[in-house]
């Protein structure tokens, strides 16, 4: 509580704004994950959560600790770089696994098509 009270107003305003925007974006991404009808639409929700929502919260954290400790605290940038590197890898791996499993289970209603990558004989 003491750490919050010592923050000057010019820093408290952008930190609050970033936290509100970040929290809203996180909940919008989770709503997309829950509400969208098919898997290939659902995978877009967490992408928003990981890039924009996490980015806003990480920026708020950097700004808050830099002002509160009156020195440059930017080691949250390590998490930012790590997330930006791993989010596409994870999304691509889950999507490939989903396409592979849908084609193997012959679920054509899901709209999975792998072009020339995988070949399955129609039963």
């Amino acid at each position: 509580m003491n750490a919050l009270a010592t923050l000057p107003a010019w820093a408290a305003l952008p930190v609050s704004l970033l936290l509100i925007v970040g929290g809203s974006i996180v909940v919008i991404g989770a709503l997309g994950l829950l509400r969208l009808p098919t898997f290939y639409q659902r995978i877009h929700g967490p992408a928003i959560t990981i890039t924009l929502g996490a980015g806003c919260v990480l920026l708020a954290s950097m700004l808050y600790f830099s002002v509160a400790q009156s020195r440059l605290v930017i080691h949250e940038i390590v998490i930012s770089i790590f997330l930006l590197l791993t989010a596409p890898v994870v999304a691509m791996l889950i999507m490939r696994a989903a396409v592979y499993r849908d084609l193997r289970a012959q679920k054509h209603a899901t709209g999975a098509s792998a072009g020339e990558v995988y070949h399955y004989e129609e039963k």
Binding site: G23, V26, V27, F39, T49
Partner: protein, 93 residues
Amino acid sequence: MMTTLLEWSIAFAFICIVLAMVLCAIRLLLGPAAHDRVLALDTLWMTAMLLALMMGIRFGDLIYFDAAMLIALLGFVSTIALTKFLMRGEIIE
């Protein structure tokens, strides 16, 4: 005045992140296919990392940054292992 604004926005972000975790948990429980559950679990890891960061801001302690870093790393590795399992049926071949 500004301290009150900061407290309320931190509370709002906490509620939003916990709500997002609940929504991910619902998708994890009722996801029709296995890859839906893996996607929901990955999102749950990411929101847990955001929750650790938020606790760091709330209590003004840099130790939560290490917890967030660890959660991000473990989430990445576990999701890679689960997708490998979905693709191939085993993890270490």
